[in-house]
């Protein structure tokens, strides 16, 4: 049911973990099935220098998490905000229909982390 690319990202997920000195952290829960994803990132001059994820969820949730971190790493926060859930699913070669909701986790968590970064920046 999953594409090879999904299986690849699931078995060898990129950027797993938590960054201790992150300046942008976002966590979202998937209302549909109760899953959770946390993104931590280091942003310098509005560019995402480093990013890691932790995910509690299905194969699609893990793969989209991994994929989205690859997609935004090195990008500016504005570019990253433009990346949609659909774009992540597409980059994985598509997801089964029943699993499309899982891809929402990934982009949303990144967007939350960026929001966190912007808020912190504004406060300083």
């Amino acid at each position: 049911m999953y594409s090879e690319k999904v299986i690849d990202h699931f078995t060898n997920p990129r950027n797993v973990g938590e960054i201790e000195n992150a300046n942008g952290v976002g966590q979202v829960g998937n209302a549909k099935c109760g899953d959770i994803m946390r993104i931590s990132m280091v942003v310098e001059n509005d560019v995402i220098k480093d990013i890691k994820f932790k995910t509690f969820g299905c194969g699609a949730a893990v793969a989209t998490s991994s994929m989205v971190t690859e997609m935004v790493k090195g990008k500016s926060v504005n570019e990253a905000l433009d990346i949609s859930n659909a774009a992540v699913a597409e980059a994985l070669g598509g997801l089964p229909e029943a699993k499309l909701h899982c891809s929402n986790l990934a982009a949303d968590a990144v967007h939350e982390a960026i929001k966190d970064y912007i808020q912190k920046k504004t406060k300083v």
Partner: protein, 387 residues
Amino acid sequence: MKRIYLDHSATTPVDPQVAELMMVYFTEYYGNPSSVHSFGRQVHKAIDEAREKVASLIGANPSEITFTSGGTEADNLAIQGAARIRAKKGTHLITSAIEHHAVLDTFKYLAKNGYEITIVPVDEEGLVSVQDIEKAIRPDTILISIMHANNEVGSIQPVAEIGRIAREKGILFHVDAVQSLGKLPIDVNQMNVDLLTISSHKIYGPKGVGALYIRKGVRISPLVFGGSQERKVRSGTENAPGIIGFGKACELAGQRMADENIELVRLRDKLFDGILASIDRVKVNGPRGAKRLPNNVNISINFIEGESLLLSLDLVGIAGSSGSACTSGSLDPSHVLLAMGLSHEVAHGSLRLSLGRQNTDEEIDYVLQELPKIVQRLREMSPLYHK
């Protein structure tokens, strides 16, 4: 790569003896059993023999067996059929929170169509209490439906006692015995059962065949009309090869059950003990010991999610199942685990490994070697896990 099948509660391979027998009825004795000619008569006879074999495994009379397209249809036929025919006597039905969807969804359908239902809870081991059933009974109760053994956590219900109460009060008693057939002794008379559901593909018979035991004298309305096969309770050209295969599977199950169970219990407990020894923060779902199906292992592994676990196991050749919401296509994790009081999160991390006839010690050893590594990897990926 090794391929280890530990999902026998979902479905089993067809026993080679069963498959071979069916083959003959596909291509050689293919007549319609209702026909006058010899092509049909031979098949008719073989169906009669199958009916005897099925009946014999549950202590019934052959004339009390109605073949269906599976357990789901048999559950529906029992419950819808009894509800319709007894509607004038009363419209209240009782079941438990951990029944199969074939029962629960049928109850919910009836609840929307003029019937009242009571769903009794279970305890943290997935066991129904006889007292709860007794308390739920009303003067207008017409049917109690309780499963013999649960398909997810393997808990064995006190059906004989419930049957006794139902019989005393003149209430029909339906038992879904899909998971217990061939694994626990079943005697419809000792259990005071009026209607009993069984299914072929859980006992090394073909998919798409099941049966409903209907006690002599008990009447139910049909679901499907036309042709009047299966004593007018279930119409349609008989799935002759399927029925004959089911009969053979019942025969084999009867012969092998005693020996097989000793082996299953041994492997089951080896798997349980091995997992509990090598992985921390694991919860056993369902009772241990004699109140559990001989072939069922169900655990919740904290901080990880079921579908990820299944996928990871599959990638090393191990087939299991999970009560995770992510595997269910619906939005909620297993209704059985939730009814037992598990939180959404813990239910999510459940793993069912259900053993079968051909599993070996080596296979269990392999699982015990791979599972901890996978759990470790997934926990490290989990935002919930802190060492």
